[in-house]
Symmetry: T
Subunit: 157 residues, 12 copies
């Protein structure tokens, strides 16, 4: 189907914005699934703190995935957040199977957030000229994820 | 790691319950991702009704996935709800890419709910003797999904 | 019109579930109208307690009627909760006209709840094999109505 | 039983007010049951919009029935809102059985609201001298029902 | 001080409206104090029901007193709701001192509400031509007080 | 387009009601814009009190404009609340440009409310026979605007 | 009637507590009526601030009157908060009639609060030995009224 | 284990405070269990009023038990609120088994509250010098329990 | 007193249900007291997590005790949840006195939940034929307690 | 009057920011009036969806108009959002009179949003150097309006 | 400026109360800043628990500082809670710079609370005769701070 | 201690961001303390408006201080918001001691906000290249503070 949604951006700028947003969508859906996986499988004395903190991460990741997808639609491109796409294209680090000790969970979450932030940072630069509206959205998501990055890192000290 | 969580079920019953719950978990995570994908890509005169109804489906699917996973932990088995596992093992029908007309969306959602209900129905029978607590959880999820099945079907008439 | 809603039950099981649910629907709509009638016409020193307690009964009856009707739709059968149907088919005991003394109201409500519970109990048995999802709904409604049965009976002591 | 509730109106005025209110009570209870019946049996592409709009109608009809009944008590007359009375005396148009297409539902609801408004309008005139308090209640109900009449009619255009 | 608030009514109409409203103000402040007095001194098996119902009466009386006073200001006349004015000019029946049996409380409240309604009814007629805005306010207060009159009377049956 | 909305009023009565409501709509939209303009441009020691009080006026004016427009639709006439219509037909007094001292703001708001109330008062009389439902709506709006008229005037003393 | 409520205090201590509480009750009811009177009749540039602040005073005075009365009942003495009692026995300073300039209102409220606090202070001393529970209630009310005393005084500077 | 919590009180004062608080804890836990027992077993025409009022008593007793226990911890002593301790040391009067008539329930609750208040009153005196912070807590609990004592006694008149 | 509450179960079935429910009531009241005892006496680095998690356990135990008791009344048997009964008949493991290290608290709570679940599991089987309504209640409580069992066990890993 | 509000921007930058904000203010007030006009006059099968979606648009337009006006004040320039100014200077496309079919409404809203976004996009570029604070506000408004642009366009497919 | 706020205390008593309150104000502002400093700089496995618990401490400290300051105004003395005054006069122990390990944070918070409580305890004695209203405020703050003292100490065990 | 929190910025960029954020933190903590100081000591006819507006300023300042501090942690630098640091390094103008007339308070608050905004504006420029995430946070804080700057200035006109 020819796109039923026109963009307020010219095609070149739209493609830059769309590439950044599709990547963010995939990473954020994956981060939400990783957060839930850890939420269920963590064990150890810090169980309750980590279990609760992971739901805050999942909430952020889900909201940001929705923002990214709905910004894609706004620039006239259909998002793709399906399981197979996520499994194939995510830049997140992933998470092991089975019960996992609390300190391993913390370390894995720090690494996953760092990987997602790294792609977002690159796309903040890439979209500066192409679309400041998309850039502003990525800046807002990065601000929150870097705050979470600090909070998870702080537990490793 | 040897399982740190003991089960109140004997191993045979635990395995029956766990198989049902792991299948439900995978299907329900997939249903939540399918619901979001449709939420973003639907177009047509019924856009707003379908867009909103899909978020109700996503909410149900996410809550039920969490219930299934936390029941798995309660019977002593670590859940697996990661993207690759979902992409590989889901019994849902899936959803096409790109912008999708409203009536195609409705038909696809009906098919996906029906597929998930079908597996749940089989597991309601399978868990009746093994674990009535797990069975009760599956009955409750089926009740809500069959209600949604009616509501989505009604739009096809 | 041929039914636009397919059932996840085979026809024999669907008919058992539908018979139980249609009977419950009619009884519960009637119970809600009886409760309101008593709410308006009760007089006596216990007026305020009874007046308020009747609205709790009406709320339960309305919610359960809606549940029964929407479960009927889910098994593929159109519900019938119209005034004439209710007047003709309800198994409730009914309620007299005009102003009514508090103790007569209490006795009449106890009788009406008992009659509705009696039909529900029979249908809990009847649906055990046909559809555990429908049975579970009827069990939940019976639990609440038997609680109300105690509360109304307690006032007669 | 001799009426335990004295009226602040003389008998002639009380009878005018009571006749208007008893008629309104019956019509509004019937409208609430018709609204629920349609809520359950509507099918077609507009399912969700109509299904939701019907619950707003039901809420209004239930609240207004309660107002009318409690104004009857205030003028010293016991209301009658039982199923058989409603089935026998309602001036509403009624609603067919079985699954019903959306556009038929809309047309039937427009007709039912119009019939109820027509009786209310006549009683606004009839109660002007007899009891301005009752008249004010009927005016308020008519205002809301004529608003709903517009909203349902608008869907037919 | 010359009145700093101009009226949208001519002086003759303003005086009719103001007389009705000042009378209502005094009666309603008194009714709120009577309600509280009864709330504190009631004893007997119905203590809790009556104690709670009296606070609903007090809430209504306070709100209506405020409405009457603020309508007086709107027609350009300063209200007077001070204790001495209320003690001197109220048309309510009053309430005895000391602990009071529940049934005496109910009878006294019925009489007090009836006395206040009686003055309001007379002012509804008096303000019909002078100021329909003031009349509408008095009609609304009468509707609620006649509802409470029924509820308190019902306890005497 | 021939009107898709039928009226429950005959044409002569409908025209009286519609004229009153269209005038009220225009005045009230204008009052809401005037209130916002003053909210932004007021300066002086009373800034905060006036700034906040203006938002209460704007809220009332917006709600009443919506009521008037939706009553127009209910009597079968399409409302017109567009900027050019408001600029051309409003009976409000308007508001100057640029920063405005608090006492000038208060005086201007008193004058604008008075002008709107004056038209409403005339239409209360005009609609008494034509449509008591419309009249009741205008009475309710006048009651609130005359209360605000007092509150703004009180600041001038 | 012999008192139906026994006291946990011996008669001598009960009488000290009751005298303090009955005095507080009368003063606080009067303060609430004075606060409302001022709320309605204040005029001047500070109208809105004073009008709103008076409702905070009224709320405090009403709550404290209720506390004092319900503490009287707890020590076995029936309270008296009727209009004539308040008019006769209040130690508050009272409030003039008619429209009142803002600065006069502020001064009058400061004087009234000071008078009420003065009696409370005396009763805090008087009840120290007789009943620390009553004393604690009076301390809490004094704390809030002295806070309001500051806030009203601050406006005079 | 040597106490891990240091006290801000010297040992003699700590012991006085702790004795008062441990006694209050035991009595209040018992009062909460007695309240629930009565809540379940009361029968008679006043069933609903008593049933609801008992939950207010239970809420107060639970909150106060928690306050007493957490004040014990604050003065450096481990509380003991276990079932056997409560059964052995409570000064409350207890409650009979089986269904209980409303008037017997009321009398039993009055006696139980009186017994608990009596010990609290003694400890208010005992803690005055030892720890005014603990005393203030006991005064606050006594204030509420004496209010409830009045409300329950009032039903016996 | 002969039971004033009739049962909808025949005597044999009623006795099975009642035995299960009375046992659950006693265990759950004890669990709530144990949970509070631990809430007050826990010490160690995990203090805050454990302290908060225990209140969630207490809330569940209290709600379930209330459910069990009110189901007992519904089947016509008076519950017994008094301190001495609980101390004598509870199947829970109990809790030591004095300050308790976090890891000992966790282990003790795991053991107590396991003991309560064990009796519930036996009663789920026992009531399957006797009363599916009671069984459904026990299933629901077991589901939540097994979830809490996992969460507390997870902290031991 | 010389401006009483100093700007934190130098005059040249202030003028750039002010021009952008005054244009946005006018467009957004107009968009809010257009949205309401369509909200009242839309007819057709999609009536309810469109009617509700228009109120979301109106809410956004009103909030953004307020933001733009209050940013104008912050940079030291008095806003102008009066009806005549809006009618004369708005860049929105406007809306026809009378009843309007749903699909025409959707197309008109898409065009109006597009026109407003177009001016905002130009001003995002214009204010980048002059005032990043103003630019950030315009970016945020554009993000939301482009999201609404997608949602309204999607209905045309 | 001569004090515009008169005191209800004589000068000698006022000075005692004011000295206690000014000291409390300074200590509590400092405690709130210390709590925030620790909230930001804590690291270690207990990060989340400590980070959250610190915000509860900050909330208490801020509320109590406000209470102390507003009691100072009520006794006629202007408070001083500015940064330099706090830095110079606080009796709290302070907090080190840079990232801080969890266990050090806990120990430092215990010490700071203990220091603040110590001054409050001395002032409870000092104000007993001078002003029981001020004393009651200090008792209430001490109760809460000693509760927090226990909770923080418990983490050290 | 070597920093336990890694930064997503290189050291040079981190230092620019950190310098801006530490300055903002100090200024905003000071602004919150200044706002509270003024909140307590303001006197004069505008007391209530200014007293309330100051709490809005304090809320903003506290929230922004927390944002600045938690952004510092996110870039890997420990914040310093202690009293002595604030007293030494704040760029705010400060506030005099003792009771302060309303107009002096307004002027002082305008000056303090202006000083804080001036440093923020400089840091918006400084961080544009170094870290757009930090810049975006500073832009958002400046937007709100410039709005407050207008509101406080408007009172001086």
């Amino acid at each position: 189907m020819k796109s039923p949604i026109t963009s307020t951006l010219d095609p070149a700028r739209r493609d830059v914005a769309a590439a950044a947003l599709q990547a963010a969508l995939v990473d954020l859906v994956d981060l939400s699934l990783i957060g839930k996986q850890a939420h269920w499988t963590v064990v150890g004395p810090q169980f309750r703190s980590i279990h609760l903190a992971l739901d805050e991460l999942v909430t952020a990741a889900r909201d940001f995935a929705d923002q990214a997808a709905e910004r894609l639609t706004a620039v006239g491109v259909a998002p793709d957040g399906r399981a197979a796409t996520v499994a194939r294209e995510s830049a997140a680090k992933g998470f092991g199977d089975g019960w996992t000790k609390g300190e391993e969970v913390v370390a894995a979450i720090v690494d996953n957030i760092a990987a997602v932030v790294s792609r977002l940072r690159a796309h903040i630069d890439a979209t500066a000229d192409a679309d400041p509206v998309t850039q502003d959205l990525l800046i807002g998501q990065t601000a929150r994820l870097e705050q979470l990055h600090w909070m998870w890192q702080a537990q490793l000290a």
